[in-house]
């Protein structure tokens, strides 16, 4: 009897050891990337393609990823260029990644610049999509110069509910006016940071895309 109980005890120990060795990292991740397609920023979309490819390579089965354009009115599903929730099976997830990449490639080849930049609308759309995805870790990437230009009549003075969200501004380029008065650039960054943090989110800026792997933690 004692031997049997000791044996079962040992088996439990082995199980616990194996459990200790297992990779029980967090649940699924959700990433929503906003691509600014306004004016001259369309020239930067090649960089965005690199970022998307990098993100695709880091995402795992079960994670969700969407890429949307920022144009005149971005609070719309129509602005989502590609979206996917990766399958549980790694082989299927790999196929989905390839298809996603092809969609982005074709979009970047055919994209036309938009006259206005509705970043807030894109953010609201991102919030909605990520909340629906039930992802454990939610990240919004804004690939833009963060200069918001709204068409007349568009209301975007809306507080953002960003609890549990990480917002990362990527490749925030300096405009010509920023070069004349750098305070404009700094104010722009600061305004967005305040807005995100006021909504309960985390704010991060990554301008050096060469070190995405160390700077960007999804």
């Amino acid at each position: 009897m004692k031997i049997r109980s000791l044996t079962s005890g040992l088996l439990v120990t082995v199980v616990l050891l194996l459990v200790g060795c297992s990779d029980n990292t967090s649940s699924s991740r959700g990433v929503y990337m906003l691509m600014d397609t306004s004016g001259t920023y369309t020239n930067e979309l090649k960089q965005a393609q690199r970022v998307i490819n990098y993100i695709l390579s880091t995402l795992q089965p079960g994670d969700s990823f969407a890429v949307a354009r920022v144009d005149t009115g971005s609070f719309s599903e129509k602005d989502i260029v590609a979206k996917v929730t990766f399958d549980d099976r790694p082989s299927k997830a790999n196929q989905q990644k390839r298809v996603f990449r092809e969609k982005i490639d074709s979009f970047i080849k055919t994209v036309k610049p938009s006259p206005y930049t509705d970043i807030t609308g894109g953010m609201l759309q991102a919030l909605e999509w990520l909340n629906e995805s039930n992802a454990g870790q939610k990240t919004i990437l804004i690939f833009s110069d963060l200069k918001e230009e709204l068409k007349k009549g568009y209301v975007r003075d809306i507080p953002l509910q960003l609890n549990g969200f990480s917002v990362v501004a990527l490749n925030v380029t300096k405009l010509r006016s920023d070069n004349i008065d750098p305070r404009e650039y700094l104010d722009r960054l600061s305004a967005w940071q305040n807005r995100v943090e006021a909504g309960g989110g985390n704010w991060q800026v990554v301008n050096d895309l060469e070190r995405l792997d160390t700077a960007l933690t999804l």
Partner: protein, 485 residues
């Protein structure tokens, strides 16, 4: 009214303090004897409690030692019985295998000896002697031909020639007969060799039996020692048990390493079967599935070893009849083989997934040509992974042997550790008991230190009252230092 107001008997705090000091000193002096008794009694209670606890612990230690000894002797007895039983089985096998053939061997030897005997008899047959009339031939040959008739001479010459021919024929026959004898003797050689070989074989068997009997004698001696519960037997078993514990723990650690490698080999490809995102108790489902497969393999290995009677952890399996047991052996082996094949397949799948991952990453990085270059040598790692996937379940099967040893020796080790802990606890309790005992005396002295002034006055008065017995007053009032003991 606060406490400070109560304490302030006079407006002057120093004076109040002095008054309080005097009052307290007097009270303490008056209560001295009772206070000493209380202190001594209290510390004595504590000391006795500690002493009793220590005694209980020592008793428990003795019981545990006795239990350890019983466990050790039982295990030793069982092990000795197994060894002796095995030795007897070997002797039985040797006797059955070799001595069962003894009648045939005897017949073979007899036949060989008969053949040798026959050949020997044939070899000693005397060949026909050369004819006795050889001397007559010589005499005829010596007759001078000149004295006689030439015709006689010719006749004699013919006789002489005939005789020579006859002699030559006889000699040849003699040589032939000798050759045949030598041939017979020569033919006896392989028979002698065969007889020698047969005798050597018999000798080897007998020696093997003698060796076995020596081993059995040695084991029987140990067994008798265990049965008579000698100290030497207990010491030997204890030392052996500890050695086995450490060795089996080391082997088990290696096996755990193997299990972890096995786990990582199949955990990822399992996500293709059960998915890799669902979580149960904070663990991914594919990890749980991989772990279950490994544990099932371990269990099958344990049962297989048990069915083969290599280990004896489950008496139910060991006591089954041989037919059922052999069926179980094949069943467990088949399941294990099936699982090993699954693991090999999963290992192959893992390699495919890794290749696909690498290809996807390369595409995402825009390096689509890299995979073509790498694929020329990837078959080595694929084959290695598949081989490991197939072999590891069978390797893990042998964990049953160290596991059994570990479990058995663990009982002894736990007992030894328990005894050591109880001994330490007993020592600690005795130490505390002694500390309480001496702290009682120390507290009594400290008490006297607080009332040193009235005691000094008392000593003065007593000194005046009886000069002959100076200092005796101290003796009367002092508490015996070892009174608490």
């Amino acid at each position: 009214m606060s406490v400070s107001d109560i304490l302030m008997i006079t407006p002057n705090p120093v004076l109040s303090g002095i008054i309080w000091f005097v009052v307290i000193t007097l009270v303490l002096y008056l209560a001295r004897v009772h206070a000493h008794q209380v202190i001594i009694a209290f510390t004595r209670v504590l000391q006795n409690a500690m002493r009793l606890s220590a005694r209980s612990v020592m008793l428990a230690e003795k019981i545990l030692i006795q239990r350890n000894q019983e466990v050790l002797l039982n295990q030793g007895r069982e092990a000795s019985e197994r060894i002796i039983e095995r030795e007897f089985e070997r002797v039985d096998n040797t006797v059955r295998r070799d001595l069962a053939e003894y009648p045939a061997l005897h017949r073979q030897l007899s036949e060989e000896i008969n053949k040798i005997d026959e050949d020997y008899k044939n070899s000693i047959d005397v060949p026909p002697e050369p004819p006795g009339w050889c001397k007559a031939v010589e005499a005829v040959a010596k007759i001078p031909s000149a004295k006689g008739d030439p015709m006689v001479s010719n006749v004699l010459e013919d006789i002489h020639q005939s005789l020579i021919k006859a002699n030559t024929r006889a000699t040849e026959e003699y040589r032939k007969a000798s050759h045949q004898r030598h041939q017979l003797l020569n033919n006896m050689m392989p028979q002698w060799r065969k007889v020698r070989q047969l005798l050597q074989h018999v000798d080897k068997n007998i020696n093997s039996l003698l060796q076995r009997s020596t081993t059995i004698d040695r084991h029987m001696e140990e067994y008798e020692g265990i049965l008579s519960q000698t100290d030497r037997a207990v010491r030997t078993l204890s030392s052996s048990s500890l050695t086995q514990f450490f060795i089996s723990a080391f082997v088990l650690a290696i096996a755990v390493g193997g299990a972890v490698i096995n786990f990582h080999l199949i955990a990822r490809p399992m996500s293709e079967m059960v998915g890799g995102t669902s979580m149960i108790m904070g663990m991914k489902l594919n990890n749980i599935a991989a772990m279950v497969i490994i544990l099932v393999e371990l269990a099958m290995g344990l049962f297989l070893m048990e069915s083969m009677r290599i280990t004896r952890m489950f008496p139910v399996i060991g006591s089954l009849n041989d037919k059922v047991r052999v069926r179980m052996v094949w069943t467990f082996f088949s399941i294990l083989l099936f699982l090993a094949c699954i693991e090999a397949g999963l290992a192959f799948m893992r390699e495919l997934l890794m290749e696909e991952d690498a290809a996807t990453r390369a595409i995402l990085r825009g390096e689509e040509g890299v995979q073509v270059v790498q694929s020329s040598y990837l078959w080595i790692t694929t084959a290695a992974q598949m081989g490991m996937g197939f072999v590891l379940p069978f390797a893990l099967m042998f964990v049953a042997i160290p596991l059994e040893t570990f479990v058995h020796s663990l009982r002894t080790v736990v007992g030894v550790v328990g005894v050591a802990m109880l001994r330490a606890l007993s020592w600690l309790l005795r130490l505390l008991g002694n500390m309480f005992r001496f702290s009682g005396a120390a507290l009594v002295n400290a008490y006297d230190l607080l009332i040193i002034v009235p005691l000094w006055i008392e000593r003065l008065f007593k000194g005046r009252g009886s000069t002959a017995t100076v200092g005796d007053g101290d003796k009367d009032d002092s508490v015996p230092y070892r009174g608490a003991a």
